[in-house]
């Protein structure tokens, strides 16, 4: 029969369409993987220079500043201040005193000093209203005063609307003076003598002064003027306070860079060297720090510069031929070096705070008394040190999954074995759909009941429930034996319908043990189990804890393991079983010696898939744990898993930020892990099928 050309065309089109549909599924899958990778990879890149502008200046630059977004540059020379844009075009010019020795910009202030006086200005970049970029600057004189006697250097330490704090130091004396603006009243807060020559000083977050000396001593001067000589380095060549003022960077004479921070334990604070960057063999001349994050620029005597990040100790960038000083713009995207010339670098430095060690290693954070694994992506203040360790989350994921498996594996495997090998076929037809319904229950329902129903019940009746879990099986066995002994002549009559005998036993025994929960806890635990547990172990009892998750997530995992294990059991050829029984082995001997052995690999893969399901489960852990990223082994503490962490934090995270990419990395880890488990078990099951044939 001839087919018409039209029919042929339709046929071919359909073929192409279906093929396209099939392949598009593959594309979707690949797309997911590529996309997750694409969003994750930038995390591990360092910083790079994306552009450089050089601006030539006629006179020698004494001090300079760069605006928040890096589009405006100010520099001070003898007798004046120039404001230029990034190409060097003049925007504004202000007059300053002649013969100045130093000029320093700090947080909207400019402090200029000549031989015997200091001049303080309010200096800030302003936008003209329509654009979001700054377009000009304002200089307002605040006050001038003579340099206190014997002092050589003045530094602004903090300023608000009504007052400004200035640190003065000379050879062996240091002062902190507070000036009220407007009235210009001064109040000496600290005035102290020190034994060695002061190189530099800054105020710490708690109000004390940190002063470093040439000979390598670091002094801490508290608010009442008491000096403690806390640390000794091998000479100090540069010093700087990190943003947030909870840590400072020190370079010693051989070029090693250290970061110090204090921790508070039982009321007394002690300083630790929390980070150390080994020397590159060159002497450090100065350190410049970012206001935005913990990035700092180290200038070496040979004119090279290295950009480091304190928390991760990561070397971000190296530039060889800068001249003199290096400023980091407020948004961290520009570097300005100044000396005889101005060089403006555009840099890409998006994720200085992430390194392999930051994600998976122990890190000594500012304010901690020892290195720790911590996840805390946001804090109260802008200058908070983000902590991105995935370890507490991985720990929580494993802990939750193990508790779930602890509960689910015995029940699911035993249940599957019973149903497959012992249960009456009529009952089987009823039970199988029930397990499938169980598999279809939304995890949000299970998690909800876990958190809002089970957790309070468990808290109230824990001793009774624990006892019930132990004695009910025992009671069931006894009851079974009794029934068979007295009510049936041979065991055969109830074969396959055992569950009807044990149902009342379970209800009775379990119910009784719960009813007497309070009595048990009075007798065994001296009253309250929670208090007993706390005094014995020192860890508090969380209402939403690992046991609750174990039950709830176990519930979600049981049908997965059950169905797969039952599947594996039914692949065992009936001939082997029949043969074993024919050889005179009992039913149980056949099951334990033949069936289980034959189905072993399938059962293992069922448990693995169950584990995979538990690892990725989100809603149950989100609702049934307190979601605190703790690393506690106690079964009565909560935890936070990788998946719950994504659900909690991703909706509120800025696109492209470090936490955003880390959450994508978490998703990628979950994807690859579960995919790998599935591929592996796929192989096992494939082999199983082949063998059974």
């Amino acid at each position: 029969m001839m087919r018409s050309a039209k029919k042929e065309l339709i046929n071919k089109t359909a073929r192409a369409l279906f093929a396209a549909g099939g392949v598009s599924v593959l594309i979707v899958i690949i797309l997911i993987l590529i996309f997750l990778f694409k969003e994750t990879i930038p995390v591990f890149s360092g910083a790079e220079i994306t552009g450089k502008n050089s601006i030539s200046v006629s006179s020698k630059i004494i001090g300079a500043s760069i605006s928040e977004r890096g589009n405006l540059i100010s520099y001070v020379f003898q007798g004046g201040l120039s404001l230029v844009d990034r190409n060097g075009a003049n925007i504004n010019r202000f007059d300053l005193p002649e013969k100045i020795l130093s000029a320093e910009f700090k947080k909207n202030t400019l402090l200029v000093a000549d031989a015997d006086k200091i001049y303080l200005y309010d200096y800030r970049y302003v936008s003209d209203g329509s654009a979001s970029l700054d377009s000009n600057a304002e200089l307002i004189s605040l006050f001038q005063c003579p340099m206190p006697k014997g002092m050589k250097t003045a530094v602004v330490s903090s300023k608000d609307d009504t007052s400004v704090d200035i640190i003065y130091y000379g050879d062996k004396r240091i002062q902190l003076i507070k000036y009220s603006l407007g009235g210009n009243i001064e109040q000496v807060k600290i005035d102290t003598e020190i034994l060695s020559v002061i190189k530099s000083a800054e105020v710490y977050f708690d109000g004390s002064l940190i002063a470093v000396s040439e000979d390598g001593r670091i002094y801490v001067i508290d608010e009442s003027g008491n000096v403690s000589d806390v640390l000794k380095e091998d000479g100090i060549s540069a010093f700087g306070m990190l943003t947030g003022k909870r840590g400072f960077v020190v370079a010693d004479l051989s070029g090693n860079i250290s970061v110090f921070s204090s921790s508070n334990r039982e009321g007394s604070s002690s300083f630790h060297k929390i980070h150390k960057i080994e020397s590159s063999g060159k002497k450090v001349t100065s350190i410049f720090l970012s206001d935005k994050d913990r990035t700092f620029a180290v200038i070496y005597e040979d004119g090279s510069m290295r950009l480091y990040y304190s928390t991760t100790e990561k070397l971000l960038l190296e530039i060889n031929d800068i001249n003199g000083n290096m400023l980091i713009s407020g948004n961290g995207k520009n570097l300005l070096s100044y000396g005889s010339k101005l060089h403006l670098y555009d840099i890409k430095n998006n994720h200085p705070d992430i390194s392999f060690k930051a994600l998976f290693g122990k890190i000594w954070y500012e304010g901690y008394s020892e290195p720790a694994y911590v996840w805390q992506s946001t804090g109260g203040a802008d200058d908070f040190e983000p902590k991105y360790s995935l370890m507490p989350l991985i720990f929580g994921t494993v802990k939750g999954s193990l508790f779930a498996l602890l509960f689910a594996v015995p029940l699911a495997l035993c249940g599957a074995l019973f149903m497959n090998q012992f249960m009456h076929p009529d009952l089987q037809r009823l039970i199988k759909p029930a397990v499938e319904i169980m598999a279809g229950l939304p995890s949000v329902i299970i998690g909800f009941l876990g958190g809002l129903w089970l957790a309070p019940v468990l808290e109230q009746y824990l001793p009774g429930i624990l006892l019930g879990l132990v004695i009910t099986p025992v009671a069931v066995i006894f009851a079974g034996h009794l029934v068979e002994k007295f009510f049936t002549r041979s065991g055969g009559e109830i074969y396959g319908k055992e569950i009807f005998i044990i149902l009342p036993v379970i209800v009775l025994v379990f119910g009784t043990s719960i009813m007497f929960s309070n009595e048990i806890s009075t007798v065994v635990f001296n009253g309250d189990f929670k208090d007993f547990f706390f005094t014995k172990t020192g860890t508090p009892y969380d209402q939403r804890n690992a046991i609750v998750v174990g039950f709830a997530m176990g519930f979600a995992v049981i049908p997965v393991i059950f169905s797969l294990a039952e599947d594996a059991l039914s692949f065992v050829p009936r001939e082997i079983i029949a043969g074993s029984l024919a050889l005179g082995l009992s039913r149980w001997q056949t099951v334990s010696g033949v069936v289980l052995k034959a189905a072993k690999s399938g059962i293992v893969s069922a448990v693995m898939i169950g584990f995979g399901r538990a690892v990725g489960e989100t809603m149950i852990v989100l609702m049934a744990t307190g979601n605190t990223p703790l690393m506690s082994l106690s079964p009565f503490n909560g935890f936070r898993t990788l998946s719950a962490n994504i659900a909690v934090e991703l909706p509120e995270t800025a696109v492209g930020s470090s936490p955003y990419r880390i959450l994508f990395l978490s998703a990628l880890i979950l994807f690859i892990f579960t995919f790998a488990i599935n591929i592996l078990t796929g192989f096992i099951r494939g082999n199983m099928r082949k063998e059974s044939k």
Partner: protein, 506 residues
């Protein structure tokens, strides 16, 4: 004692535990949820010290610290500060159930209990129903015409300021006057409705001046017969399904959540069903077993094990930010930086769920296709059909039950899946439904409410969880019923297919 029997009983015990847990879930949810629809009698509790309370007895705690305690729901939160009161049983003088006590369900501040003395029951009902009608009218005006006028005004404003179009001012003025007219009309209507008040005498003799406008329903629980109570409970259950939430979701109904779930599921089905069926037909009918086909089949099976949160992350990054962001840059650039599609919306939720449920649909469809006997195909070929005709007229119709099973399972999964939606646009309380009477009727960019998320949000994020228990357990019950019905249908269809398959001997 034979060890063998011991093992058998342990196995049976495990099996029974699993079954009991499944039954337990249904029982717990129903037992905690359904009583909220029951109209409880309101007790008048007289204390030995002369105090009198009206309230529902919410529970007795015989083991409280200072002897047996009774938890009384006294309502009137606006006056007493809290809904519940714990009283010592030893101090109770008498408990009675006078018929005249009235329970009022209110828009705000929870229930009120008391006695209305200044107005007769019939009269009250007449005024209340007339005020309710005014209220309905006010609401429909507010949500209908006024909302759409305001939307139009903001659109016009946008066109005038951003695109500097001219000649629109007149239209704008006209709309503004219309909006002002409606608003004054509304205000006067509302004032008239609000002015009508009555006084409720509370248990302690205080008089609370209440507005008819705030009263949702009035009951006289102690004066209702058993049949009446059953009728009220049944009505309450349906009202719960079809009413809007009140008091930040802790009272009232869950209609927007059900509606959002339904629209979401429909959108998802539109994406996933054709694609899943096409992929399955390709794998089963066209593809020759080779490396590529094996790869596709294996990845589909393995995808089923990937956690749903991963799809959520993908949905947020790819659909919302990448696709939605591009749509915004191309079509809605004048609205930037406020995003139109570049933020969570029902379309992105549906697409994410479509990707998530794709393996479910494909696997079930493959099973359905496998159940079509080869003889059917061969018979059709022998009559001269092309491959496409065989597939279209013989294979797909016969495999349809399997494909539908896949769709049903996918729908059931989507109805209960929450984690991916949290990233792609589900909200606790949507301003407007994703489907309404204003053009273009279906608003794919709107945020939506969802049953599963509603459970999470009301149960775990609301400030007064104790007050929200009724809503959250009953929402769970409804989701449970939906998922149960869907799964049962799928299982029944699939069992029929399997029977057919084993009968046909393939």
């Amino acid at each position: 004692m034979k060890l063998e029997k011991t093992y058998t009983y342990l196995l049976a015990f495990s099996m029974l535990c699993i079954i009991l847990m499944v039954l337990g879930i249904f029982t717990i949810v129903a037992m905690n949820g359904l009583p909220y629809f029951w109209l409880k009698n309101v007790a008048k509790v007289e204390m030995t010290d002369g105090k009198v309370y009206y309230g529902e007895i919410a529970g007795v705690n015989p083991k409280a610290e200072n002897g047996s305690e009774t938890k009384l729901k006294v309502g009137n939160r606006k006056i007493y500060g809290q809904d519940f009161l714990r009283i010592k049983d030893s101090e109770i003088k008498s408990v009675s159930y006078p018929k005249e006590i009235i329970m009022l369900e209110r828009d705000e501040w929870g229930n009120a209990y008391g006695i209305i003395s200044d107005i007769g029951g019939k009269e009250f009902d007449n005024i209340h129903s007339s005020v309710m009608e005014d209220k309905k009218e006010i609401m429909s005006l507010e949500k209908g015409r006024l909302l759409s006028i305001n939307e139009e005004i903001s659109k016009l404003n946008h066109r005038i300021t951003k695109k500097s179009e001219t000649g629109l001012e007149e239209k704008l003025e006209k709309l503004k006057t219309e909006s002002a007219v409606i608003e004054t009309d509304l205000n006067s209507k509302r004032e008239q409705a609000l002015i009508k008040t009555f006084s409720l005498v509370l248990a302690d003799g205080q008089i609370d001046e209440l507005k008819y406008y705030d009263i949702v329903k009035k009951y006289q629980p102690n004066d209702v017969s058993l049949a009446g109570k059953i009728w009220i409970s049944v009505k309450g259950f349906f009202e719960f399904i079809f009413a809007d939430p009140r008091e930040s979701n802790t009272e009232g109904g869950i209609f927007p959540a059900i509606f959002g779930t339904v629209i979401l599921v429909i959108l998802m089905s539109i994406f996933v069903f054709p694609l899943g069926v096409i992929a399955a037909v390709f794998l089963s009918e066209y593809a020759k077993e080779g490396f590529l086909v094996k790869l596709i089949r294996n990845t589909i099976y393995n995808l089923a094990g990937v956690p749903s949160i991963v799809y959520g992350v993908f949905g947020l990054g790819f659909f919302v930010y990448a696709m939605g962001g591009s749509i915004d840059r191309i079509f809605f650039s004048d609205y930037l930086p406020s995003p139109t599609f570049g933020t969570g919306g029902i379309i992105w939720g549906a697409l994410t769920l479509a990707v998530l449920t794709l393996p479910v649909v494909i696997v079930a469809s493959l099973e359905g296709l496998k159940s079509v006997p080869h003889m059917y195909r061969e018979g059709s070929y022998s009559l001269g059909s092309t491959k496409w005709e065989v597939i279209k007229d013989v294979v797909i119709p016969n495999a349809m039950p399997g494909m539908l099973t896949g769709l049903i399972l996918a729908i059931s999964r989507a109805a209960g899946e929450v984690a991916p939606l949290m990233m792609t646009g589900v909200v606790k309380s949507a301003v407007a439904l994703p489907f309404d009477s204003s053009f273009p009727f279906i608003h794919l960019d709107r945020k939506f409410m969802h049953l599963g998320f509603h459970i999470y949000d009301v149960g775990f994020q609301s400030p007064n969880i104790e007050a929200a228990r009724g809503v959250v357990f009953n929402t769970t019950l409804i989701l449970l019923i939906i998922v149960f019905a869907l799964n049962l249908t799928a299982i029944l269809i699939r069992n029929r297919i399997r029977n057919k398959l084993s009968r046909s001997g393939v």
